[in-house]
């Protein structure tokens, strides 16, 4: 009897977790600094890169910086309006890729002409800064030195629509670019997943633990 209860409770909890996950909203881009990521501006470790004249959109809950590494170091971001810190966030070491997303506490109001500073800890590999070449006056700085251009920055915030409400376009996209085209593939997937769940539960019941 305990097994039946455990399976029922486990499946109910699983459904709840999946349901809650899908009722959240995906993050979306709230704004960018319109800089392209065409050029490697700098590469190094244990440095701070700062950039003036940024605009922090209202509701921004994360900031995406064009910093690339195989195993990235800890990154701490400060968004400053003059001497006042408007937003702060950190990302622990161990991120990977050509961008790093640093979560922020959502900001209530937009802030223009802010300074974004990203402080990178020491790493065992150089971290690349991607962006676009600009004049020295507009360029990002690292310590006293001006970089050859500006780093691309994107500001993210939670979307207004839940994953549930986005199901239809996602199903349509899942049917593209595969051997078998069409949204029906998602039905096959759902059937397979339900089959796995049923087989798993049945085998747990059949083979008393």
């Amino acid at each position: 009897m305990r097994i039946q209860i455990a399976i029922a409770a486990g499946l109910a909890l699983a459904a709840l977790v999946v349901g809650l996950t899908l009722s959240r909203s995906p993050t979306m881009i709230a704004g960018t600094n319109s800089i392209s990521q065409e050029t490697l501006l700098a590469a190094g470790s244990d440095f701070t890169v700062c950039q003036n004249n940024e605009t922090l959109p209202r509701g921004a809950s994360a900031i995406r910086l064009w910093l690339g590494a195989t195993i990235g170091p800890r990154v701490a971001v400060d968004v400053l309006a003059g001497a006042r810190t408007v937003a702060h966030g950190t990302r622990a070491a161990g991120w990977t890729g050509v961008v790093v997303t640093v979560p922020l506490r959502p900001v209530a109001r937009a802030a223009a002409l802010v300074r974004v500073c990203a402080e990178l800890d020491r790493a065992d590999e150089p971290v690349g800064v991607q962006g676009q070449k600009t004049g020295a006056a507009m360029a990002a700085t690292s310590g006293e030195n001006a970089l050859p251009g500006r780093m691309r920055i994107e500001y993210l915030r939670a979307g207004e629509r839940s994953w549930w409400s986005l199901a239809r376009p996602i199903v349509r996209r899942m049917g593209l670019g595969h051997a078998w085209s069409g949204g029906w593939i998602v039905l096959v997937l759902l059937a397979l997943l339900l089959g796995i769940g049923a087989l798993t539960s049945w085998s747990l019941l059949r083979e008393p633990l």
Binding site: R2, I3, I5, A6, A9, G10, L13, A14, V17, V18, P26, T27, M28, I29, S45, G68, T70, I71, R91, A92, A93, G94, W95, T96, G97, V98, V99, P103, D121, R122, A123, D124, E125, E154, L156, G159, W163, L166, P169, I170, R173, M174, L176, G177, H178, A179, S181, I185, V188, L189, L192, L193, G195, I196, L199, T200, S203, E207, P208, L209
Partner: protein
């Protein structure tokens, strides 16, 4: 259908049917629960193969290029290299280059904010280009896959050929489905391994088997074209063969099975070499035991305890089956009799009077050495052939392996610094060690976090808070595991040799991965810091989960076991949703 009905009408038919009958017989001897685990793992990998966009699994484009070149030319790839996946390898076939371009693969890799193709126009362009009859032959470049042994690719040539009349995407999907079958084998052997290692904990076998079958990393890797799918299966088979030999004794049959597993492993992926020292140690221990190298009194005591344990297992198994009163196939009583017969056959070699005497007869010793020689001969055959072929074609005897050895020997670092690097590759730095991974706690940041979730081209991860949350279930499982080990300390002491063999196999895998990274240190110290390279030890994960369930005790163990399995299922579904969001979600 009865046995009589299946009997062929003529002797000729009997001969023709013999292999089939043997296969059916062998299949029937596999426990139904093991087959269930295999089915679940297989279906799970099929799901992953349908979710992940083509070539969006790490190195899949290189592995596909290898299979394509091998299938189209019947030759091994000629060149390779570690080119960045953010550009299309010009050595790939024109057909594959166009597919990669139309799928925007180079733009998506390492850019988690970019999505797979999402418009009908892109889809039409892709289909039109793939139907244009472009050449399927490149210049024999297989990127990073070039140094890999050919077995997996040769096997993948079968689905490739079966789909040769279809588009490249059709062939890729068929190849992915073939890999999914290998996930089934992995789970099957993991279940059988748990059964051999924990013979008295029947109730937990399913927890171990299903836990492995539902592991997202297994589904992700085996839902793609990657030789690691076969590596995981053959590694699990190797663990199983060893465990079986430790439990039932080394016979010619078990030695041959182990030899075949090792032979297959060595021509599957070079990482399998990491398991070899442990396997050889295991063979030596098994031979020593069978040849009576132990102190006679200790050996007799050991064997007597094993006999008692085996008889106990058989009794509990029979009693269990009787009490259940419902069998999957056949009459319960006949099943119970078969089980008892099986148990007696386990016991038989151990209770022979000659073996319980202080001296092992010469014939038994010879048989032990013969089994050892057989296992080593079978296991060593592919490597010997490889060296011979290389030498006959005026190449370095060890071929690609010699490049790695050469690269290692060129390292200017001391042995101590290499040891320090390997330590820090997995564990926190000790006082006095140089800082090789500044600012990173590899145990947590790499092996735990990335072990929890790292998909796509290692560019698809959960939000950071998920990894923190994952510490809770991982900690609970760890605590249960520790409790189980403490409870079973007497058993652990008794089976210290066997455990040391599994430890040596695991250490070998860890060493080979860390040493491969060290070759590129200090320019790059973490290229191979990927949890997927540790999945050859999946069978041990099965045992860990089974032990965790056992540690919860008689009263709560079953419920904890069921929750563990359902937890793995949830984790798998959430991982699949993560990949769906990454490749098909709104731009973000």
């Amino acid at each position: 259908m009865s046995t009589v009905e299946r009997t062929p009408a003529t002797p000729g038919a009997a001969l023709r049917c013999a292999p089939l009958a043997a296969a059916v017989f062998a299949l029937r001897r596999i426990p139904a629960a093991a087959l269930l685990c295999a089915l679940v793992a297989c279906l799970n990998a099929v799901c992953w193969s349908l979710i992940t966009p083509p070539f969006e699994v790490v190195d899949e484009s290189d592995h596909f290029a290898y299979v394509q070149w091998l299938s189209e030319t019947a030759r091994l790839p000629k060149s390779g290299g570690d080119g960045l996946p953010t550009s299309i390898n010009p050595g790939f076939s024109p057909e594959q280059q166009v597919a990669l371009r139309d799928l925007h693969q180079p733009q998506i890799v390492f850019h988690p904010q970019r999505r797979a193709i999402s418009t009908r126009a892109e889809q039409h362009a892709l289909q039109a280009d793939l139907q244009a009859g472009l050449s399927r032959k490149g210049d024999g470049n297989a990127g990073s896959a070039v140094s890999e042994p050919p077995l997996y690719y040769a096997l993948q040539a079968i689905p490739y050929e079966l789909g040769s009349s279809g588009s490249l995407l059709d062939r890729l999907q068929l190849m992915r489905l073939f890999s999914a079958l290998l996930a089934g084998l992995t789970a099957l052997f993991a279940y059988l391994f748990v059964r051999e290692v924990l013979p008295g904990a029947r109730r937990t076998w399913l927890v171990g088997g299903l836990g492995v079958a539902l592991l997202p990393s297994l589904g992700f890797m085996s839902g793609a074209v990657n030789p690691e799918a076969l590596l995981y299966a053959v590694s699990a088979a190797t663990f199983y063969c060893l465990a079986r030999a430790f439990r039932r004794g080394l016979t010619n049959r078990s030695a041959a099975a182990l030899g075949v597993a090792v032979a297959v492993g060595t021509i599957t992926k070079l990482n399998f070499l990491g398991l070899l020292p442990g396997v050889i140690l295991g063979l030596l221990l098994l031979t020593a035991r069978a040849a009576g190298w132990r102190m006679p009194r200790a050996r007799v005591a050991h064997q007597s305890s094993q006999v008692q344990q085996a008889v106990g297992d058989a009794r509990s198994s029979v009693a269990h089956k009787r009490s259940r009163g419902r069998q999957v196939a056949g009459d319960p009583r006949s099943r119970a009799r078969r089980s008892a017969r099986g148990a007696r056959s386990h016991v038989q070699p151990r209770v022979r009077a000659s073996q319980l005497t202080a001296e092992v007869p010469l014939a038994a010793r010879r048989a032990a050495y013969r089994s050892l020689a057989l296992a080593l001969a079978i296991a060593g055959t592919p490597a010997t052939l490889y060296v011979l072929v290389n030498l006959l074609s005026n190449r370095s005897g060890l071929g690609f392996v010699s490049h790695a050895i050469h690269a290692t020997s060129r390292q200017q670092h001391s042995l101590l610094s290499e040891v320090s690097f390997i330590w820090q590759f997995y564990l926190p730095r000790l006082p006095g060690m140089a800082v090789d991974f500044p600012g990173i706690l590899t145990t947590r940041n790499i092996w735990f976090n990335w072990g929890v979730g790292l998909y796509g081209w290692l560019d698809t991860v959960f939000p950071p808070w998920v990894y923190t949350l994952a510490l809770i279930p991982a900690g609970l499982i760890g605590a249960l595991l520790i409790r189980a080990l403490v409870n079973a300390r007497a058993e652990l002491r008794r089976r210290a040799g066997e455990l040391f063999v599994y430890f040596a196999m695991s250490a070998g895998v860890l060493l080979i991965v860390a040493a491969s990274s060290y070759v590129e240190f200090p320019q790059q110290g973490s290229n191979y810091a990927q949890p997927r390279y540790l999945l050859p030890m999946l069978a041990l994960l099965g045992v860990a989960l089974a032990l965790a369930a056992r540690a919860a005790g008689r009263r709560w163990g079953p419920a904890v076991g069921a929750l563990l399995v359902i937890g793995m299922l949830t984790y798998d579904v959430l991982s699949q949703l993560l990949v769906v969001a990454r490749f098909y979600g709104p731009l973000g």
